[in-house]
């Protein structure tokens, strides 16, 4: 029980690394920085592996209970200072622990977060070798690891929220890592602000959960929800709580209304994009919804909303990804799209399928991003695919690993993406064929844009603009390629954990997760129906594989010979559609009109800011005007009163006599001039007069 008892060390190790970086990093050598930061994450990964291994044994012995380790209470007390009434009127006390929870769900996240994180740390030592702020970058990365692990291992919503905010902060810091670029700091601000909207939803949802359940511990909440499932079904409080939590998930996981920050987040360094904005952080929303599955299943409306939002996000982002030219933006929209898949899975009740897709997606999407980073590295910072081409010979390792990832994400069989995506599509079909149709279309688009990326980057004729760049193209160092290879390996094999029963597998993954989704599994997937639908399942499987092949074919036809100045097929077929897609459906512009107020219709600001402006105008002109008018009336009255006082009372009444007295005093002043000699003169004159009178009178 060594690792389980000291599970709190897992997040603490990167925290120590981060603290060292922030306090002493400036004075440390790059090698020392790498050793400390990568070492802490490697240690954390090893401890995570040990912890998960021990948990499987411990769980098998203890009925697959979650393992909970509470260190202390950091918010609220047992003595009842924060007492309140639950929604049903029973008393409850608010408290939040510094406690850690390990169950199958968090085990999966723990493993791939530390694993992928470790690989990306190693990759970063190569990628960032020539950048300034090396220690800062690794400090942020370690801080992110700490926050993410806190989020995953938290045993209650409040501590989870701490990690949630921590990863938000690290995301902000890392997107704005090149803070001297205006676009980077703008993107960082955008990410942070959009996340705030989701966070507000999370907090409110948390309050509802506490009001409903009387506790924020996951075990208590899950237990409460499952115990009272019958009474709580359809309870509006549950609907409200889950919808608000989903808003939080939308913010963090870039779902439809709040997805706008993620494409811009590509301003950060590529390892960051890979780690945070593809593999780990953006899946926190999925994790949170999966963690709250007991509540979500109690509200059909919420589930429907999650499913629809997920589906729409998937196809929406995929359609944008069709035409993007920036290699990282294509991947970013791909990420949004895949996250939509995951939420679609959660929404249709296939929690384990969603989680499985998270798991596989983490590997191949991280691999894609790191590969893209390697390409960018080779191209001396060039990110536009229109200026690439014919790189397959020059950077073979990158090319091969990326090809693996592309095949995985496109859903080619026996690679990881195939199993998870097919699972989701199958579950969607079972829920509603319309949602399946959307997912299918998305799969087609995914295959197309991914192979478009591959063709434009590796196979098509070279469109490199400058010879200098052309000469400079080289394979990345070992520290970068080794993680690529490792990730490629997992991109191929990760899916095998969830080999579906229909294909002769045993789906270990789903079994492993069963205790977590106990309520969902028995309701949504009655084993009785499985055989009846077997044919349909194979048909759908074939269709999705076919879609991948069609996407590849279309991409190959359009782009295999794309020379300089090639034309996009969509642009040729329907220019308005192309423009719309290229401009991302004008969503940012719309937000500018409606929310930020940066764009105006003529001179009138619209939306929220417009409302604020109008309110401000009303306040400053009508309300203040009334106030000022009252003031003006008072002041003019006072002015008149003052005038009256000054000229009539003081003037005629007081100063008049004084002026009169002063006028009369002028002759008298003649003798009191203040000049001594004048006095003497007057005296002499008096003497003359006196003597004259005395002598001659």
């Amino acid at each position: 029980m060594l690792f389980l008892d000291h599970i709190w060390l897992i997040p603490l190790l990167p925290a120590v690394g981060a603290a060292l970086m922030f306090f002493f990093g400036r004075r440390l050598q790059k090698s020392t920085v790498s050793a400390v930061c990568v070492g802490s994450v490697v240690l954390a990964f090893l401890m995570a592996c040990g912890g998960v291994l021990q948990y499987t044994n411990w769980g098998a012995a203890n009925g697959h209970r979650p393992y909970e380790k509470i260190l202390y209470t950091w918010l609220g007390t047992d003595t009842g200072h924060l007492n309140y009434q639950k929604s049903d009127g029973t008393p409850a006390s608010f408290r939040a622990d510094a406690g850690f929870l390990l169950d199958p769900l968090s085990s999966i996240w723990l493993l791939f977060v530390t694993g992928v994180g470790m690989l990306i740390h190693i990759y970063s030592t190569g990628y960032m070798a020539h950048e300034g702020g090396y220690y800062r970058f690794f400090g942020y990365l370690n801080l992110f690891m700490f926050s993410m692990l806190t989020l995953i291992l938290a045993n209650n919503y409040v501590l989870m929220f701490v990690g949630w905010e921590g990863v938000g902060l690290c995301s902000y810091l890392l997107i704005g890592f090149y803070f001297h670029r205006k676009s980077a700091s703008d993107a960082a601000n955008k990410a942070f602000i959009v996340n705030r909207i989701g966070d507000a939803g999370f907090i409110l949802g948390m309050f509802f959960v506490a009001w409903l359940c009387g506790s924020l511990r996951f075990i208590d909440v899950t237990g409460f929800a499952r115990d009272h499932a019958a009474t709580l079904m359809g309870n509006p409080i549950v609907t409200a709580a889950t919808l608000l939590l989903f808003v939080g998930a939308c913010g963090k996981s870039a779902q439809l209304p709040l997805y706008v920050w993620l494409p811009d987040a590509m301003e950060g360094p590529t390892p960051v994009s890979a780690l945070i904005h593809a593999a780990t952080m953006v899946t926190a929303g999925v994790y949170m919804v999966a963690r709250s599955n007991a509540l979500f299943v109690l509200s059909r409306e919420s589930m429907l909303v999650v499913a629809i939002v997920g589906a729409l996000t998937a196809i929406f982002a995929a359609s944008i990804g069709l035409v993007q030219n920036d290699i990282k933006r294509v991947l970013a929209y791909s990420t949004v799209s895949q996250l939509g898949y995951m939420f679609l899975a959660l929404g249709v009740g296939a929690f384990s399928a969603g989680v499985f897709h998270v798991f596989t997606h983490a590997f191949f999407k991280a691999l894609l991003f790191l590969g893209a980073g390697s390409v960018i590295h080779a191209m001396s910072g060039e990110q536009d695919m229109r200026n690439m081409g014919a790189l397959s010979e020059k950077i073979p390792v990158t090319f091969r690993t990326m090809l693996v990832a592309t095949l995985a994400i496109a859903g080619i069989p026996i690679l990881a993406g195939f199993f998870s995506k097919d699972e989701i599509l199958w579950q969607a079909w079972k829920f509603s064929p319309y949602l399946w149709a959307i997912g299918f279309a998305t799969a087609l688009m995914t295959a197309f844009y991914m192979f478009r990326l591959m063709y434009l980057t590796f196979w098509s004729p070279s469109r490199v603009t400058s010879h200098e760049v052309e000469h400079h193209i080289h394979e990345s160092p070992k520290s970068m390629t080794v993680p690529l290879v490792v990730l490629a390996f997992f991109s191929i094999t990760a899916g095998w954990l969830g080999w579906p029963a229909s294909l002769g597998g045993s789906n270990h993954f789903e079994k492993f997760l069963e205790p977590v989704f106990a309520n969902a599994a028995e309701k949504e997937a009655p084993p009785a129906n499985e055989s009846g639908l077997g044919l349909t399942e194979y048909l759908l499987m074939g269709l999705s594989v076919a879609a991948a092949g069609v996407g590849w074919l279309m991409a190959s036809r359009a782009y295999s010979n794309a020379g300089k100045g090639y034309t996009e097929p969509i642009a040729a077929a329907a220019p308005p559609v192309y423009d719309t897609l290229l401009n991302k459906y004008y969503v940012d512009e719309g937000y500018d009109y409606v929310f930020t107020g940066r764009r105006k219709l003529g001179d009138v600001r619209l939306g929220v800011m417009g409302l604020g402006e109008a309110s401000s105008w009303f306040d400053s002109h009508v309300i203040d005007g009334a106030v000022n008018a009252a003031g003006w009336i008072t002041r003019s009255t006072a002015t008149f009163s003052s005038w009256w006082d000054k000229w009539i009372i003081d003037g005629i009444g007081v100063n008049g006599p004084a002026i009169l007295a002063r006028m009369l005093s002028y002759p008298a002043r003649l003798f009191e001039w203040g000049l001594v000699q004048w006095y003497a003169l007057v005296m002499t004159a008096g003497l003359v007069g006196f003597v004259f009178y005395y002598v001659y009178h």
């Binding site: 009191e672 001039w673 203040g674 000699q677 003169l681």
Partner: protein
Amino acid sequence: MEAMLHITTLHYLVLGAALFLLGVIGVLTRRNVVIVLMSIELILNAVNLNLVAFSRYWQGMPGHLGGPGALHGQVFAIFVITDAAAEAAVGLGILIAFFRNKETVNVDEVNLLKW
């Protein structure tokens, strides 16, 4: 001519009057406080001259006011000199205080008395 050569009390009186007028002119017209004070000394000396001259006059006159012991004028002159000493001391003290405060010795720049 005879009257001019025979020096009488009147000669001293005329001399005293002339000095007195000079002193008065000095007091009334000069701006420099020091010279004004000196002019005052001139006036006092004119008076002293008159007093001593009258003392001399009364010494030669009969009666209880006159006679050999009629030195009252001289005693008065001594008192006047005493007074002049006191006046000079206080006046120059005022002058120094004044100069320290206003950096000037011009008497017509001292006109605070009118308020």
